[in-house]
């Protein structure tokens, strides 16, 4: 909302610099987003108010005139080219040296006077553009008639216009008078009410029109007044200036008054041309099926029965609370005005304006909730102004349909509640001062305050609402900082989150960069990485109104996000890249929220860095991915088993399932080159997925511990021949499970060889086998004997033989 300080000053004195005013307002009332100073560059000596005394033709030019102006020190002649200059006007007048916006270049420059077509000019009568008020350079600016001749222009019409953002529950702050009331409460200055006096004619308004509310649930109050003898025309300069500064366009005196009063009080009003209201009656009712109305913006609106219409004897004349109809609009020929000031159900206004995609200044106010009593207040103010600026004669009385006036709410605020909520007491006198300044009625009864909020504050309904009024005006700077007391809640174990966060740290430690991707993706990307046979993951949830089409579907896999990140970074990274993300897969669930399945997904690939940070000849491969998983699981306290298994979008023969015991916990694989290619990745890229739910089930609370042995291990290196298709894990499984009189046997593979010296269909695996006893140093003889037993077992179980 635009808040011109000059307008605010009608109701409350403000003598704070703009920055301090903004701070005080922001602290207690509403957020000031910025302000504009009008007239900052107008020199008080050189730019002043003048009166045009006469306008005469220029002797040497048809399109120029000679204006005689009075700046308070006798008549001066100026050459003027504006078509609208006229005798009797108050104008802005500048003399040599004034800083003005150049009408042609648009730049701030110093005024230099020179003879124009042979006639000297004593100064310049200014347009809005030259004053920096607008781009209007067609004619001169006509000042309000009450500007004092000779006064510095900056005093006459200089201003500060604040841009204020108010709250969704405070329609009253969308009225400048309402705002002034808050400012008065904050600064302690007195508040001045706008003039609401007017004379009334003999005839009663009810002789002109009847009002029947047919939808009292949507229309809580409808007041109508009648103003005869309207002289249509432009509104006075002061009113136009204020409307413009507040961001509205002047239309004509009647419409301007309705807008002015709305900006002033927060209560929207609507003026009908009385002679166009058919049947001399007004019926607020729901629209009938198939009804339409062409609104003031010339758009034909389709109405539906949930919408409240203002109808006359024949049909709709306005969409209630949102916009009037063209069929009853005031115009140059209007003689009598029917002024509507009503109160509507906020939710209904909001629904209708959403449905019609029609937001207006009126609907913005109504939807926030306005007290019904504000209607008659605004009527009085508008009638006062219409009488002043449109020559109207108000008929006596209001036609006021107010089926069920709401009782004034009464709130009991125990004094102790203030301290209970805030942590500090507020002294009773201060409570009274604040509430009274805000327009509340306050009475004390015992240890409590009986508070009656004013009619413009329907948002205040509970004792804590009153507490907020108190503290914001009292000042949040007076609230101390204290420390929470009392018992701590019991800690809930969160094993999954613990594992997840540990894995996140480990992944980073293992050289993977964490990324965070948008969780909404496209169907195309999902279909590249999720098999259509996976019932959990197909049919992803879709956003009804995505921000962009590529962000329509909630991802059921993180693979696409990681591969996209990999591809995008490949444009500027030469060497190996490792990325991971911890997120959830949104798995649709029938008639319920999706299962958000937590997962770690990582991709890696590219050339390993050499000594000089240059990509070397060796690329990351499957075993880099597997090694990362082994280390990660190892630190978590489990050992994963890797089984060759095909996975969708992964390269067969280069793809493994990671499991722990009977639980499958993840995937390690090379991404299928075709799939990688679809993401514009033209190199081998590898993928890791680990799901935290199964992982959490198998991770021990603490790792197995055994003290380091006091006895040395014996190590034997063995080269074993096995059928080529036998996985190394088969050998290791046999060795791990081999038992030999309390001797622990462990083994690592340290080479795989096929080729010369090894028969076709076979491969040689080199194993480092370690033997250890907990109670003695093994003798050479022990070791040889155990080794023989192990070799026999390996041969029996999987046909492994010692390579000669």
């Amino acid at each position: 909302m635009k808040l011109p300080l000059s307008w605010l000053g009608d109701y409350v004195d403000v003598d704070l610099p703009p920055a301090e005013f903004a701070t005080r307002v922001t602290d207690a009332i509403a957020e000031v987003e910025g302000w504009e100073v009008i007239g900052e560059q107008w020199d008080p000596e050189l730019v002043r108010v003048a009166e045009v005394l006469a306008v005469d033709p220029h002797p040497n030019a048809d399109r120029l005139v000679l204006a005689t102006v009075n700046v308070g020190d006798g008549p001066k002649t100026v050459v003027c080219g504006a078509p609208n200059v006229a005798s009797g006007q108050k104008v802005a007048f500048a003399t040599e040296g004034a800083m003005l916006i150049d009408g042609h270049s648009g730049k701030l420059s110093k005024l230099k006077l020179r003879a124009i077509r042979g006639v000297d000019s004593a100064g310049m009568v200014l347009s809005e553009k030259e004053l920096g008020l607008s781009d209007d350079h067609e004619g001169i600016l006509e000042l309000p008639g009450d500007c004092a001749i000779g006064a510095p222009l900056v005093e006459a019409i200089g201003d500060v216009v604040f841009d204020v953002s108010t709250w969704a529950n405070r329609a009253d702050l969308l009225g400048i008078f309402g705002f002034a009331r808050e400012v008065a409460a904050v600064t302690g200055q007195p508040l001045r009410e706008p003039d609401r006096s007017y004379s009334q004619s003999e005839r009663s308004a009810s002789d002109f029109v009847s009002v029947t509310i047919e939808a009292p649930d949507l229309c809580r109050r409808f007041t109508a007044s009648i103003i005869e003898g309207i002289e249509m025309g432009p509104s006075p300069a002061w009113m136009q200036q204020r409307l413009i500064r507040a961001g509205m366009r002047p239309i004509n005196n009647v419409v301007d008054v309705t807008n002015y009063v709305m900006l002033e009080t927060g209560q929207p009003l609507h003026a009908f041309d009385y002679d166009l209201v058919r049947g001399a009656e007004i019926r607020p009712r729901r629209a009938r099926p198939g009804e339409t109305l062409t609104t003031l913006d010339d758009i034909e609106r389709d109405l539906d029965p949930d919408m409240l219409m203002i109808c006359d004897g024949e049909g709709p004349v306005a969409v209630a609370g949102i916009m009037g109809g063209g069929n009853s609009e005031v115009s140059e020929s209007t003689k009598t005005v029917l002024l509507e000031v009503a109160n509507f159900h906020p939710g209904s206004i909001r629904r209708t304006s959403t449905q019609l995609k029609l937001r207006s200044e009126a609907s913005l106010r109504f939807e926030k909730g306005i007290g019904p009593d504000l209607a008659s207040y605004a009527q009085d103010r508008a009638l006062h102004l219409l009488e002043q600026v449109a020559g109207g004669r108000p008929a006596s009385g209001l036609v006021d349909a107010f089926p069920t006036p709401l009782p004034s709410p009464r709130i009991t605020l125990p004094a102790a509640r203030i301290e209970q909520v805030l942590g500090i007491p507020i002294e009773a006198g201060e409570v009274r001062r604040i509430l009274v300044a805000l327009g509340f009625d306050v009475a004390e009864s015992g240890d409590a305050f009986e508070v009656m909020p004013p009619f413009w504050r329907p948002d205040v309904a509970l004792p804590d609402d009153v507490v907020e009024e108190l503290i914001r005006i009292y000042g949040y700077e007076n609230l101390p900082t204290t420390v929470l007391r009392g018992a701590l809640p019991e800690a809930q174990p969160r094993p999954l989150e613990r594992v997840r966060e540990q894995a996140r740290e480990l992944a980073a430690g293992l050289g993977f960069q964490e990324v965070v991707s948008y969780t909404l993706t496209s169907e195309e990307i999902l279909s590249r990485v999720v098999p259509s046979t996976d019932e959990d993951r197909t049919g992803p949830l879709a956003a009804m109104n995505p921000v962009a089409s590529q962000h329509t579907y909630l991802r059921t896999s993180l693979r696409g996000s990681l591969l996209s990140a990999y591809a995008a970074n490949r444009h500027h990274e030469d060497a190996a890249m490792r990325f991971f993300e911890v997120g959830v897969e949104y798995l649709p669930t029938e008639a319920d929220l999706p299962h958000e399945r937590p997962v770690l997904c990582a991709v890696l690939g590219g050339q390993r860095l050499e000594r000089w940070e240059r990509p070397g000849p060796e690329r990351l491969d499957f075993f880099d991915a597997k090694g990362a998983v082994e280390t990660l699981l190892g630190v978590l306290g489990v050992e994963g088993a890797f089984t060759a298994e095909e996975h969708f979008a992964m390269l067969p023969g280069h793809s493994a399932t990671v499991s722990i015991g009977d639980d499958s916990v993840g995937v390690v694989a090379q991404v299928h080159p075709d799939v990688a290619g679809a993401f514009d990745i033209e190199e081998p890229v590898f993928l890791i997925e680990l799901w935290f739910e199964p992982l959490t089930r198998v991770i021990p609370e603490r790792p197995d511990y055994s003290p380091p042995s006091r006895y040395p291990e014996a190590r034997r290196d063995l080269a074993l021949l096995v059928p080529a298709e036998t996985p190394a894990s088969a050998l290791l499984d046999v060795i791990r499970t081999h038992r030999a009189r309390g001797v622990r046997i462990a083994a690592d593979v340290f080479d795989e060889y096929r080729g010369e010296g090894v028969a076709a269909g076979q491969k040689s695996l080199a194993l480092a086998v370690r033997f250890r006893a907990d109670d003695r140093t093994l003798s050479e003889k022990d070791v040889v004997r155990i080794e023989q037993g192990l070799l026999r077992r390996l041969e029996q179980d999987i046909g492994a033989t010692l390579r000669a």
Binding site: E468, Y476, P480, T481, G486, R494, A508, L520, E610, T777
Partner: protein, 423 residues
């Protein structure tokens, strides 16, 4: 008195003592490697066992010296002088540590060093000359050992000097590349926020990102036709349940206030981290996916001053010990009173310096907060006359942007390594 000594000058055996070639290596006094090997029972022991046996065998084969003590003392002393001269000359010529080690073995070797053998033969000397002879031989031994030590020290000093001077490194050359990942700046900031609140006793709770409309809005007092809904432009899930669109991407973490209170009894002290979503156009300060942390404390005696104290501690922890905070009046339907918290701007040197962060107000809005609305407490089954609570919501990206001076929120989810690796 005449003492005749038959000196069987043993040829220096052909064993090759392991001479450390690196002057920086611990100086081995040529301890018999066989014994050492046997003591250290590593897997290596078994592999080396046979070689050790070889060596023992050769050691056993070495001859024991015999002595003739019939020569006169003066002759013996002359001989000792000659020995000294010979040994010291040999030491001068010994080349490198290998040469010194060979020299040591020849002269001072424990089994059959030339001086060692002589000392060992002392026991056969006549008692009357044994003391003098012993003194001379021991002096010689001390001289030789001292000289050897001095040589070694000097060689070691020379080598170190050469390493420091000739082999000095260009320390400005790049380090060997290591592979280390980093946590995303939002994760790092989130972790710091969680730590800050955890210190004050807040537990972590998590809730779903896809949320029921009734939790996201209705339960936190934002009914369908309330203009406050404009504060949260919503991405709806296009799935009808009982003919209605009921699911959405949560627009804030506040529905978890309800979820937490439904599940627990006071005292409540939780923070809820997580992603939120807004249907809005993006620009340098708006992103449609964002990360929040929600805080909620409910108990008897929770006061707004506690909220201020809690947020003050948080602000100082995240933005520096000298931070100040202020509350502005604000409106959120689920709190009463409602405030926004701002911290004093630590980015602009002085007011009027066109600070793009605080716009010269000196204050930076950081989060929204307030006292939990009594209706929300009542809906959760809490007695709002007895229990009070506060709640707050922090935008993590905003905190991260302030901490690091990041100018555009859209960097966070582009996953560009050039951005990510700076944190």
């Amino acid at each position: 008195m005449l003492v005749t000594i038959f000196v069987p000058w043993l040829a220096n055996g052909d064993r090759k003592p392991a001479a450390p070639s690196n002057p920086l290596a611990p100086q081995s006094r040529a301890a018999p490697c066989g014994r050492q090997t046997r003591k250290v029972k590593t897997p290596l022991a078994l592999h080396r066992a046979f070689a050790f046996g070889d060596w023992l065998l050769s050691a056993r084969l070495s001859r024991s010296p015999t002595y003739n003590f019939t020569q006169p003392m003066s002759t013996i002393e002359a001989e000792i002088d000659a020995l000294r001269t010979e040994a010291l000359e040999a030491l001068t010529e010994a080349d490198g540590e290998a040469g010194r080690e060979a020299w040591r073995a020849e002269w001072l070797g424990r089994k059959d060093g030339r001086l060692t053998l002589r000392l060992r033969a002392l026991k056969d000397a006549p008692p009357e000359s044994r003391a003098a002879l012993g003194k001379s031989l021991n002096e010689l031994k001390a001289t030789l050992e001292g000289e050897l030590e001095a040589r070694r020290d000097s060689a070691r000093a020379d080598a170190l000097a050469a390493l420091s001077a000739d082999a000095a490194l260009d320390v400005t050359l790049p380090g060997r590349p290591q592979s280390l990942g980093r946590l995303h700046p939002v994760t790092q900031t989130m972790n710091d926020c969680i730590d800050a609140f955890a210190e004050m006793g807040f537990r972590v709770f998590e809730g779903p990102e896809v949320e029921w409309s009734r939790y996201n809005f209705d339960a936190v007092r934002i009914p369908d036709d309330h203009p406050a809904r404009d504060m949260w432009d919503t991405i709806w899930i296009d799935t009808l349940i009982e003919g209605e669109r009921q699911m959405l991407l949560r627009t804030h973490t506040s529905p978890n206030q309800i979820r937490v209170m439904e599940q627990t009894e006071p005292p409540v002290r939780v923070i809820v981290p997580g992603k939120c979503y807004r249907q809005e156009a993006t620009d340098a300060s708006h992103e449609w996916m964002l990360t929040q942390i929600e805080g909620l404390a409910v108990d008897e005696g929770v006061r707004m001053s506690d909220l201020k104290g809690t947020l003050y501690a948080f602000a100082r922890r995240l933005f520096g010990e000298d931070r100040r905070i202020i509350f502005h009046h604000s409106y959120f339907p689920f709190v009463e009173p409602g405030v926004e918290m701002a911290i004093d701007c630590f980015l602009c040197a002085e007011p009027g310096s066109d600070c793009r962060t605080c716009h010269d107000t000196g204050w930076i809005e950081v989060l929204g907060a307030g006292m939990v609305h009594p209706e929300i407490l009542e809906n959760a089954g809490y007695d709002s006359s007895r229990y009070t609570g506060f709640a707050f919501g922090v935008g993590i990206e905003r905190v991260a942007m302030l901490r690091w001076g990041i100018e555009d929120i859209r960097h966070f989810y582009q996953n560009d390594l050039r951005f990510l690796r700076q944190f």
